[in-house]
Amino acid sequence: MLQHKQTNPNKIGLWRLGAGPKLALTMLFVFVTALGPRRPDAVYLIPTAVLGVFWCLSRMPVLFALKRLVVVEPFIVGVAILALVRPETKPVFYAVLLKSNLCVLAVLMLGYTTPFHELLDVLRRMRVPGPLLTTLALMYRYLPVLAEESVRMQRARASRTFSPRRIVLWRNIAGVAARLFVRAADRAERIYLAMCARGWK
């Protein structure tokens, strides 16, 4: 979500707004939307319209949002399915789907229009606990490194995979995921040592 080129030399629309107000607006949007009724209701047209206006101001490409929404959608559906265990099932299910998608889109827009380090600066000024900030910063820094490592490993596996069978493919993906996990743990150890070497306690 965060690893796109955040370049907008003209600084138009939402790009002109500071990271602080944008974060506050997003949090407000998420809070108000989450408090909406537990059924699909006409009132949801208001946050949808607000989101639409901000979308136009942000110039966020539709494909950019859709790609990321597809990644998050299984989690949203998973949460919505939990609502099906309640007595009035269907309306709650649809309401959760609607609310979650609206909130995720708002967060995507924030991520699209705001460089991540500016968000971290705002959170630091808000005195968010240090370990949480460090975790966020490290996650942002190492996501592309892990992604690159995963691509390299998949290529290496593919270069020695001569069977087109699906089971072999899935086994390879599982192998890469397991190896990636081990490598990530090794790298975490080295990162920790590098941080200690520069005075981290």
């Binding site: 380090h117 490290l138 190492y142 080295r190 070497a197």
Partner: protein, 253 residues
Amino acid sequence: MNPAIEVRHLSYSYPGGRRALDDVSFAVAPDECVGVLGPNGAGKSTLLLHLNGLLPEHMPDQPHVWVTGEPLTRKTVDRIRQKVGLLFQDPDDQLIAATVFDDVAFGPRQLGIEGAELEKLVVSCLDMVGLGGFEQRQPHRLSQGEKRRVCLAGVLACKPAVLVLDEPTGGLDPRGRREFKQLLQSLPGTKLIATHDLELVVDLCTRVLVLDQGRLIRDGPALDVLADEPFMLAHGLEKPHALLHRHPHGPNA
């Protein structure tokens, strides 16, 4: 005058029993540039981690490492880490922040430096490594050579007395290697460089330590050791090209 680094009878085994260092002793004089050579698995990186107090996991009561005369113990480890600037082998392990500025500022912030002083320090360190104006760049968008320079700037920002470098030219293209070598040449102070880049050793180091299977097997003038071909081959190394093609009547002939 106290040696910049002194190591006495240092031994270390990794959990699992593999002996990484075996009774290693040596001293490095202030402003000396020393190369640490050896085949893979010889214990070079393990030795460097000991100089910064990152190993052993539990500090022994008796110190084995002294930095500018100060023994490395549990009580002094924080001061020693500031004195010994360690550049890691893989820059991606060392670059942890979202921007170049924040990364270079990481060490000084641990030392309590903030505000205008911090900004001035970061800018001067980036200028020193030739990356002025890179403050707001994102580390994952930099080239390998630029990443390495940012790492060095981050180390220099802690104002270390000794620079300890693990494979500083590893993974760099010839131009990157040449530029990084020139940069290291321009930096004053004590340097200990663990490397397989023997051309770098020829150009920078006056003395080398050769490790093999955790033991220090040779400690002597760089050109003498590097020119000893049978010795180099016996320990998984080779005579550098710079010495093979050296003019018989040229400098250091």
